[in-house]
């Protein structure tokens, strides 16, 4: 009995354990219908406007759709909107509908060739207003038509600024709805601070009296009114979207409406993000339905980059925004190809919607980060298919993974103060650019992978120009300094007129990676003859104490790439003194201003690349900034799980949506840094 026990215990334990292992091995996931993805952190709450990292951004891309998105080639592609068109509306008001009708007849009498030259599509009478629609904005046809209509005595339109503040907004809106005002008030718009811009056909004196009486009746002080323009007709760019109402539906089956889009914009403006869209949204006059499946966005001013604000902006349902938009308790429903079927702190399960045939997968299971060993075991046993490793993780070296780069999102650059005593000389800035080894910076970037950064636009977009940094050439850097009179002394420091080439490089505190990078930069510049002191300043004091007053030589800045091609805020001379402008380098170049204005006003997306290239060429000539490195987020895919994907290529970013689609489209093409 004792012997049986002695031999039995180990043998039984071994047998039971072997059976358990064999049984579990049979249960191992072999289904190709599910993808398991491990995040770099906990399961997120998925705020569509504030993704915490690249993995969340890509998950949101599955759940929500914008009106327009970027395709695999970095070009604009349909999403909720299957097409979009810019038009120009010219609206003139007349004393009576009959007068408006007469004006319309006048337009119709224009010779067909002239109409064609003007790009005039149609003219319609709406009450006392005549609306002429032109095929393209920012063309001369509308001006010529307006000249023609001048003989028909259109009512003059007065633009009045009324400073009421936020609290006066309801009063003004109510005022404009008064029967006596509805005919005269043709446009009403409020800025972020509640200041109103009113466009009226009424005489200014009558408007002033009516407003004063209205505010007096309401027991409020009369606001300050400032007339600032008078025109014969309103020229308004109009962006028409045609929606894909069959496939772009909410989970309850309802189609996306103009109200959803308007509510999304209002919600976004209230929250203040995405920040890149705010400038464009400020110029929206109205968002209205256009036919059964159309949305019309009317802008107050000519702003070609307005289209960019819609690219990638997730559209949310109006009903959700009204109910829960402020509480943010649960993620809003989306129109994306995938929807959440289970969400808790242990997992997030996404399943494809029935209406989308894009994916052959049954589900995507997202799990929180686990210790590296667990991740490696999970990869080895096939229970995890994709991983977003945290920076510095040893998973980056795991041979079981193939790492594909995600699209670039931001970059680090050195902004020069071109009014600084040392850096005001162009040869000095050029020399410092030539002295920087960006590849070494990218390779040595502590804790995170990196790629070369660009000064203006993310590489891979359809209008992105080529590389924007001067190549590494230390001898050329020294030559340029010598040509500029900066001669190296025995200690290797360049001097001119007894003064050394020394300056401060600002960097924000609390970011060891940037401080290390600044140290590396200082070392590289030291070889060219510049003595650089790295100065760490508190983030909250960087702008008000250093950048705005111009009390700096150079600053290391991290900036997100923006799709909007309006770059005036950063480089236009008009942004020099204005508080709130971002031209911290104090660049003032008339030619650059023209190029910036032309690019910002460009509606034709096919002509953007030419304009962007011209702008970048000018910036490279002026050297107001030195692009360093950009982020390189990577997703690791288990070897063999996605056999149809091409081999990883740093110049071909990939998204989770592309990975999960059975028929993955061509990947985003990027140029190599020195291509």
């Amino acid at each position: 009995m004792r012997r049986a026990l002695i031999f039995g215990i180990p043998l039984v334990a071994l047998g039971v354990a072997s059976w358990a292992a064999w049984h579990l091995q049979r249960l191992q996931p072999v289904s190709s219908g599910e993808v398991v993805m491990m995040l770099p952190g906990p399961v997120p709450s998925l705020n569509p406007y504030a993704p915490g990292d690249e993995s969340q951004r890509q998950l949101l891309d599955l759940l929500y759709q914008p009106l327009v998105r970027l395709d695999g080639q970095g070009r604009l592609a349909p999403a909720i909107a299957k097409s979009w068109t810019w038009r120009q509306h010219l609206t003139c008001w007349f004393a009576s509908p009959e007068a408006a009708q007469a004006a319309r007849q006048k337009l119709e009498q224009v010779a067909p060739q002239t109409r064609q030259a003007w790009l005039l599509e149609e003219a319609a009478v709406e009450g006392r207003a005549l609306v002429a629609r032109f095929a393209k904005p920012a063309e001369t046809g509308a001006d010529q038509a307006l000249q023609l209509l001048a003989g028909q005595a259109p009512l003059p339109l007065s633009f009045v600024r009324i400073e009421t503040g936020e609290e006066g907004r309801p009063l003004l809106e109510e005022f404009s709805r008064q029967p006596a005002q509805t005919a005269g008030t043709v446009r009403l718009w409020f800025d972020d601070h509640g200041t109103c811009e009113l466009v009226t056909t009424q005489p200014l004196l009558a408007l002033r009296e009516a407003l004063a009486e209205w505010f007096f009746q309401k027991g409020r002080s009369v606001p300050r009114m400032t007339p600032f323009a008078e025109v014969a007709g309103l020229l308004e760019p109009v962006l028409d979207f045609k929606l894909d109402v069959h496939s772009s539906t909410w989970p309850d089956g309802k189609a996306v409406s103009a109200a959803d889009v308007a509510a999304t914009v209002e919600h976004s403006r209230k929250l203040g993000y995405p920040a890149s869209s705010q400038e464009s949204f400020r110029h929206i006059q109205a968002i209205v339905a256009s036919g059964q499946d159309g949305i019309r966005v009317i802008y107050r001013r000519t702003y070609g980059a307005a289209l960019a604000s819609w690219v990638g902006l997730p559209i949310l349902p109006e009903s959700w925004i009204r109910k829960a938009g402020s509480s943010g308790a649960a993620p809003p429903p989306g129109t994306g190809e995938w929807q959440v079927s289970e969400a808790n702190e242990r997992r997030l399960v996404l399943r494809p919607k029935d209406s989308h045939g894009g994916s052959s997968l049954a589900s995507l299971r997202v799990i929180p980060a686990a210790p590296e060993l667990q991740a490696k075991v999970a990869l080895a046993t096939g229970t995890v298919d994709a991983v977003w490793p945290a920076a510095g993780s040893s998973l980056h070296q795991d041979p079981a993974l193939q790492f594909h780069p995600a699209p670039p999102r931001n970059r680090l650059l050195v902004l020069w103060n071109v009014r600084s005593s040392r850096l005001s000389e162009l040869p000095v800035r050029e020399a410092l650019s030539h002295a920087v080894n960006r590849e070494a910076l990218a390779q040595d970037s502590p804790g995170a992978a990196a790629r070369p950064g660009e000064i203006l636009f993310a590489p891979g977009l359809w209008f992105s120009p080529g590389p924007s940094a001067l190549p590494l050439n230390l001898s050329l850097a020294r030559q340029k300094l010598e040509a500029g009179g900066w001669l190296q002394d025995v200690s290797g420091i360049a001097k001119k007129g007894g003064q050394a080439l020394e300056f401060e490089l600002l960097v924000v505190t609390g970011n060891p990676l940037r401080e290390a990078l600044a140290g590396q930069l200082a070392g590289q510049w030291r070889e060219a003859g510049a003595q650089v002191t790295v100065k760490a300043v508190a983030p909250e004091s960087l702008v008000p104490d250093y950048l705005e007053p111009g009390r700096f030589d150079a600053v290391l800045l991290g900036l997100d790439y923006e799709l909007a091609w309006d770059q005036t805020a950063f480089w236009h001379s008009g942004q020099n003194q204005a508080r709130g402008g971002f031209n911290f380098s104090r660049l003032a170049d008339p030619q650059l201003d023209l190029l910036l204005e032309a690019l910002a006003g460009e509606f034709d997306t096919d002509r953007l690349s030419q304009r962007a290239q011209a702008l970048q060429d000018r910036l490279m000539f002026l050297q107001p900034a030195l692009p360093l490195i950009g982020d390189l987020q990577q997703i690791g895919l288990r070897n063999g799980k996605f056999p149809d994907l091409p081999a990883p290529d740093p110049s071909h970013p990939i998204t989770l949506r592309q990975i999960l689609r059975a028929d993955a489209p061509d990947l985003l093409k990027m140029r190599l840094p020195n291509e």
Binding site: R3, L5, I6, F7, G8, I9, P10, A13, V16, A17, W19, A20, A21, H23, L24, Q25, L27, Q28, V36, M38, R365, I367, P368, A370, P371, L373, Q374, A375, K376, V377, A378, A380, T381, G382, T383, V384, S394, P399, A400
Partner: protein, 305 residues
Amino acid sequence: MLSASSVAVSLALFAGALVLAFATAQAFSLITGGFPRWLRGTSVLVAKAIALFPLSALLWSAVGLWVGRWGLPVASLMPAAEGAAGLDTVSRAAWEIWWWAPPVFLLALPLAADLGARLTGPRRANPWPVLLVPGWLGLALLPVVEEALHLPGALAGVVTSLRSPAAPSVLVAVFPLLLLMLGWWVLVMAWPCKPPPHLPTADDRIFEGAIAIGFSPEEAWRLHLRTPNLRRRLANGLSLAASLLAVWTAYGCPGDTSGAHPHRLETAFQAALHHPEAPLLAAWPYALCALSLWLLGRIIQPRHR
């Protein structure tokens, strides 16, 4: 953080490993009992070598072979697996068994080897008191298993705390471990077992013989017992040093300020999934060193006729 559930996990692991190790060691002792003397000695040497091999290296090699090379599951290391939830009864049972089996088997391995060597040695000890030291060894190695296999035991943080440069104190870090060791000592001492019959030891007989032929007790001790006692203590010290070296290496060489040893071992452990032999190769010098210490102790140990 000690909690009832974490203590329960640790105790269950320890108890399971001890039962398995005790039975295996007894079986080993029975089997080797019939071997010729030289073969029995070799078996003891092999068993001791296993007992003194750093457990973390054995563990990582086993995990590397099992998971990395064969792609087979280790339940506690699979975060993406849904656990036992959603499985049928049989699969759930298999899952639970396999959650416990690897740590129990891996912890039982050095215990069984150590116990086997003790039970197979020249002097057959009474099985129950002989469990005291292997039990301590098992408790000392428990943190290694809990940490490596990510088990929610009470000692899971001990190794990490000891290796952390910010660890406040070694005593604070190993306090739960010391508590369990004390508990184990109390249990073994208080266990109601029949005391072995008193038989005079060789020292007793020598001492009595010396007195009988006219030596004073002091002379008898000085001439016949002092040196063997010293040698015995030195041998025991060497054996203890061997065990401590094995445990220290299994913990990843905490306190090594140069960092060379921890780095070497950690690198090998991290490579285990792709190179299962790497941990064994990295750890064998330490094992050889520990075995040498133990062998030296065996050589020094006085042999009684």
